[in-house]
Symmetry: C3
Subunit: 312 residues, 3 copies
């Protein structure tokens, strides 16, 4: 297929063909990452701006490396000490970056919809690196990429997402991509954080971890982020771990070929025990590697690249 | 002409020919910025250090991009967490950067004269990116570049600068460049902030905005920076806006072809209304684009480049 | 000789041949730094991550420049606002960086042994940029490089290190390298900070500065770091300066060809007077220049480069 979007804002609006185009292109870039010289000249002379209004070293570095390996120049712009602190609006900041001939704006923002807003007012390419509790599309794509690489397919896979579904942009992006590609999704967590409304997105919703993992091909564990949750909606950490954490004992109740995934950084002993995080089922570090390939693919495609034979 | 200066420290000491050499060279680099591949190899293998002792994301990024597009390597050095915090003198910091073979030091500092001091003690090229209330020469150059591009000339232009003239390095750099090139400059603002002494720089000084804008070809609005002004010298924000802010109504009292300029970041509704900032008279975003070209030209010229036929 | 180590963790475990291989290679890279184009393609397509858990702008910039001049891509990762702040372990952070295909991890950490730990769990090359009070091997190498360049040899040199020996990683790395290459080392400082145990490392230990500098070929002054020392072990600054600071008067008691060294940043008027720091005996800024060459050599060698004829 031919990619036509200027931006990557969410997975909800992507077709199955578009998602597959990213995954196929990412596979090629992953092969590039295994060469001695890991760079391709696709974005030479282009400028990528990392506009991280909400801090995230990990995602920022992944995008920065992706841009470097495509031979782009990268500018890091964080909210600290910036003109956003001086009362400048996001729109003005972004327009100024565009006036500096920025070709790509990678935005992480605490407000849902901020990337969509920028995409409307800017000619530059916009990539959503996480907007509030809305979406984190490159995370969703790298998760699906990893499942497909390990299981050979996505259609028909049984995927269970565990944690604070309500406030999780990772969960939302996972659900959209998985449903579009025909996977069966189960959402599991404390009742206050897994509202039945998610059934309307085509997911099974349960508060029973045993049920949720019994036949799962993939268990994707969300990070518990105390700083964001309203205390009244969340049990204690100990209670969360005893009900929803994955220990070695609990893993025995899952399929022998189950994949354990996590977007990182992991809270060892909370969402997942170290045994499991570092064990044979875990593909957590491969997700990180795949994230780099997926982000290269996204930058490459929205820049106008073809989705095949391109990583040269 | 042949450029012979090692540094760019201020506009006060530049001849008209030198200013025009920067403007002509910047015009060539602006054309480079419109190509698909926006890089030229002029500074390949050179190191540019952004030594920003006073923070300024916007100016720092503009210099960083300028250096990247000339193929230089860029190091960002901010005062936070640096050895300047450990009591090291500016001179020692700068000498250390030079000992690391830095070829260019771009310095932003709260003390007037800091760049001149460095230029004397260092063999490296020094560029003033704003020193206290003294000068901000690349801002002055990009302002003049923009006026010349839009109006076709600078000599004879009537330029009005509005705001806190007393504490503004932008105003000073504008005045020096505009007077040198033969423009007529009017300075306008609250009486405590526009002292009559500026008449000695060859400017008209007034506190009457209506008079100041009546026949202006260009209105350059300074940013109100509450953090810097002594409270006793400054009216309230509301009073400032009612007397010196540019609204659509007030703009009708100006010439129909007047240019509205602002060094950014703008305080919408204070110095300028959104209608005006985003309207047809405004060239605020073009100033940003031109700033990049001007900074490329400055780095290029002080590195020893010729002021014509160079952007290849 | 052929370099076979994956990492550079300390000088204690290096053979004299290995140290000399770094020094010889650094000499070649120093010559590269004097060319117009100071880059070589040795690490093109490689990624170097500066993982600075303890801040150090100066050392970080030196490594960043070294990597840039070898044509590597550089990512800066500081502890502020990073996932280390979110409770992630150092091991998980490092594994994530490796999963992003980082080829080199330069680590500065307040805990002694942190680099050794990373080197065991990672396939990436690890370079110790200072770990607690343990070692700072590239500082030791650049100090020895400078002595050898200025004095023509290291064997038989009389080197006096002055200051807070007990807590100094610089002192330790100096001692290991100097002893391995056959220099005679004297350690001098307040009695609480220069314990007799250092005699077991083959050093002379004294609290008498006059004795320590009388026949020294080199005086290496350590930085006084109040933030780290326990107050009860340290005299007042004034007392320190009067007993252990090097003034012009005291310098007259040393050999006429003595070298004055300091790892920087210097506290003028504390460890050393400005007269001396900026005088003819001082090689403090040359140490900075040499540090860049030494770090290029280290990255080059652990990447698998040969220790001769390589800087092309």
């Amino acid at each position: 297929m031919r990619w036509t979007r200027k931006d990557l804002l969410d997975l909800q609006s992507l077709s199955a063909d578009e998602i597959l185009a990213v995954l196929d292109t990412a596979r090629e870039f992953k092969a590039v990452g295994e060469r001695t010289i890991k760079k391709v000249p696709a974005l030479r002379g282009k400028t990528v701006v990392n506009l991280f209004v909400e801090p995230s070293t990990r995602t920022r570095i992944s995008f920065e490396l992706a841009a470097q390996r495509l031979s782009a120049d990268v500018i890091n712009f964080t909210a600290e000490a910036s003109s956003l602190r001086k009362g400048e609006t996001l729109k003005d900041t972004a327009r100024n970056l565009e006036a500096l001939n920025a070709d790509f704006i990678i935005i992480r923002h605490s407000a849902a919809g901020a990337p969509h807003f920028l995409a409307r007012v800017l000619g530059a390419h916009v990539v959503n690196a996480g907007d509030g509790a809305h979406e984190h599309p490159t995370q969703g794509l790298l998760d699906v990429f990893t499942m497909r690489e390990k299981k050979g397919r996505v259609a028909g896979l049984k995927v269970t997402v565990v944690g604070d579904i309500l406030y999780s942009r990772v969960a939302r992006s996972n659900v959209w991509a998985l449903r579009r590609l025909g996977a069966e999704v189960t959402l599991c967590g404390p009742p206050t954080l897994v509202p039945p409304a998610f059934q309307r997105m085509g997911c099974r919703v349960t508060t029973d971890l045993r049920l949720a993992i019994a036949d799962a091909d993939v268990i994707n564990l969300l990070r518990i982020q105390h700083e964001r949750q309203r205390k009244t909606m969340f049990p204690s950490l100990g209670e969360y771990t005893s009900l929803f954490g994955i220990s070695r004992a609990r893993l025995r109740e899952a399929r022998p070929d189950v994949l354990i995934m996590h977007p990182g950084p992991i809270n060892r002993g909370v969402e997942v025990d170290s045994d499991v995080a570092d064990g044979g089922h875990s593909v957590i570090l491969e997700q990180v590697t795949n994230g780099l390939a997926v982000r290269m693919a996204v930058l490459y495609l929205i820049n106008g690249g073809e989705s095949s034979g391109v990583a040269n």
